[in-house]
Amino acid sequence: MEILDTFRSTILDVIPIIAIVFGFQYFVIRKAIYHLKQVITGFVLVVVGLALFLVGLDMALFPIGEMMAFQLVSEEFLPALSEGASRHWSHYYWVYLFAFAIGASTTIAEPSLIAVSMKAGEVSGGTIDPFWLRVAVALGMAIGITLGTWRIVTGLPLYWFVLGAYILVIIQTLLAPKEIIPLAFDSGGVTTSTITVPVITALGLGLASNIPGRDPVLDGFGMIALACLFPIITVMGYAQIAQRVANRPEPTT
């Protein structure tokens, strides 16, 4: 029954975009669609795929994020406290390490990032190395969500971090080589794939629900935002370093 409900709601989710493309095709452009049958099968697949994904989301992706948060901050798992002592943020080191590992590993292997970095390498004429560019994006993502978990543990306001990141982005935009700027902003979007977003969201909310004194609504969100901002900074940073290296006079042999 639940699957049927999910199906019904995914049909409603997909209807607007179907209405838009068919509306434009037949009322504005007024041309027939090539391979209409194939297109219709495509939309059916979109609905079925989205419904299955949403079922799997509730069964696996959310529980995985919540479970990791719950286990990594449970009292039995954390270092023992001496009488009357209170928790220090450094006790949660496994949380930071987990966040870093998830951020770096999901990004470094991301297919769309591999394609983008190859292209950037070609465009730059060899100044930008595709491999190091990927490392820069993965590092940015990992730093972003690690800081995100640290912020949840400490309960510091999110906008301090976002403000800091914005200032860095603006300074970098003014200093970095012009050609890299679009790529840097794009890489912020690449890191948040359909699989990583739910896991990270559930992790953040799980941490905020289980750490004493934290509130899920106030502290649990924000990791996605930081995961999008920090790759912009690291990519522009890498471009500046790469440019400096390229401009260094070749040693005469």
Binding site: V46, G49, F53, F77
Partner: protein, 249 residues
């Protein structure tokens, strides 16, 4: 023919698997080497594995469907409309494209659902199934509306040739000013909704529109202008959701 299709399908399954594998690997290593505890109550390994199977299969079909249905028509429409040079229809298309793709974005459905759950538990809205579903839908409509607006403004910017970084910086300033006045319960949700819009469906279609436009207009750089739309699409939702929070809480 049948063989070929099967091979293509298996190739797509492998792509989705590659997306999921790092998560599974890191979680498994942590479970075995570091946590070393049985799974918490209420979590069953069978459900997790079955769910991951659904995720892989669902994502594969979803992306396959997009590639054979929506993407070719969407890109073709973008080209045709740019060719016609009617600014009015271009704006309407830009807005509706941003709106329609965002409503169907899986990552946004996920985050909006979680946000509604948390807001309900905190007692900011009625904690009933229907009130939560209503809040999640409202939130998604606000985000979709903001992406529509963002794509429209982005198209206007390409037509007029306005410098991108001033507009982005302007967007950041508005975000920070609104953060000061918006209720603190909405801030995290708002910032996160900026990140989820630039995902599976929205990016390819919106980029195609931007690149098509920038190629058609003399003196525009396709790489620089095509991306500008995406950058707007990630700042605008923050602004709109903060305003939504001002009225809603």
């Amino acid at each position: 023919m049948y063989m070929k299709n099967t091979m293509l399908f298996l190739g797509k399954v492998r792509d989705s698997l590659r997306d999921l594998l790092p998560v599974v690997l890191v979680v498994t290593v942590f479970q075995i080497a570091i946590v070393q505890q049985p799974l918490p109550e209420g979590v069953s390994l069978v459900d997790l594995l079955l769910g991951l199977g659904f995720v892989i299969l669902g994502l594969t079909l979803f992306i396959q469907g997009l590639q054979q249905g929506l993407f070719p028509i969407g890109e073709n429409l973008a080209r045709e409309l740019v060719g016609r040079g009617s600014a009015f229809w271009l704006f309407v298309f830009a807005f509706t494209l941003g709106f329609g793709t965002t409503i169907a974005e899986p990552a946004l459905i996920a985050v909006a659902g979680q946000a509604a759950l948390m807001v309900g538990e905190a007692g900011l809205i009625d904690n009933s199934e229907s009130a939560r579903a209503g809040f999640a839908l409202n939130l998604r409509i606000v985000v979709a509306f903001s992406v529509g607006t963002a794509v429209m403004v982005g198209v206007l910017r390409i037509l007029k040739g306005w410098p991108l970084h001033f507009m982005i910086i302007g967007g950041y300033v508005i975000v920070l000013l609104l953060t000061l006045v918006a209720p603190s319960e909405i801030v995290g949700i708002a910032y996160d909704s900026g990140g989820v819009t630039t995902s599976t469906i929205t990016v390819p279609l919106v980029t195609a529109l931007g690149v098509g436009l920038a190629t058609a207009i003399k003196g525009r750089n396709p790489v620089l202008d095509g991306f500008g739309l995406i950058a707007f699409a990630s700042v605008m939702p923050i602004i709109f959701v903060l305003v939504f929070g001002l009225f809603r809480f």
